[in-house]
């Protein structure tokens, strides 16, 4: 029940956000600074939130009519092999991502791209590695 209320709220909030984005786009003449990007950001976020909320509402309604299918979906979601497969795929993708990010940083540095962009990429890379180390230590203590 609580979950469906959140979905309805998300759908309404999405419409409001997208609507306000459209309003800003239509009625603000000669926007300056952040106001140039804000309407598009509002529309994008609004549509995303609305789609997410509405999708959940529809799937919830459909699932109520077919409890057997809901049970099967629940089983597929919690199936230990499916979880193991997903985790293994994520781990492999993470390994690949580190190489790709590393190569991209090197390429950006060699190409002489703006220092701010290279530094942002480096910090993003280090943040991801930091998350890995944090989770590693945390799970090491837990298990």
């Amino acid at each position: 029940m609580k979950k469906s209320i959140i979905n309805y709220l998300a759908a309404v909030a999405g419409i409001l956000l997208a609507g306000s984005g459209l309003f800003l786009l239509k009625f603000i003449l000669e926007p300056q600074g952040i106001m140039r990007a804000l309407p598009y950001l509002c529309i994008g976020l609004g549509c995303g939130i609305f789609g997410h909320g509405m999708g959940n509402i529809i799937s919830e309604k459909v699932m109520k009519k077919h409890p057997d299918q809901q049970k099967q979906i629940e089983i597929e979601k919690n199936d230990e092999r499916n979880i193991a497969v997903a985790n293994r795929a994520k781990a492999r993708a993470y390994d690949i991502m580190l190489f790709v990010f590393g190569a991209l940083m090197l390429a950006f540095a060699v190409m002489g791209v703006d220092t701010a962009a290279v530094l942002l990429l480096v910090f993003a890379y280090l943040f991801v590695v930091g998350c890995y180390i944090y989770c590693h230590v945390k799970y090491n203590k837990e298990m």
Partner: protein, 67 residues
């Protein structure tokens, strides 16, 4: 790790789908277990053993590769 799941399941005349539903796992998991492509968690191994009224060792056998 080897197992006799397929043999035991057939002896009990149970379909993969029914066993999967009883154990609350996907049918693919049962198929992968029977083919030896996937080793179950200890919890699932206990569930399987309990379902057939057997011990884990009667269903799953571990053989070291270098022996």
């Amino acid at each position: 790790m080897k197992n006799r799941l397929e043999e035991i399941r057939k002896r009990h005349d149970i379909r993969q789908e029914d066993l999967a539903a009883a154990l609350e796992v996907s049918r693919q998991t049962i198929g992968s277990l029977e083919n030896g492509r996937y080793n179950p968690s200890i919890i699932l191994a206990f569930k399987i053993a309990r379902y057939f009224g057997m011990s884990i060792e009667e269903i799953f056998t571990y053989e070291e590769e270098n022996l």
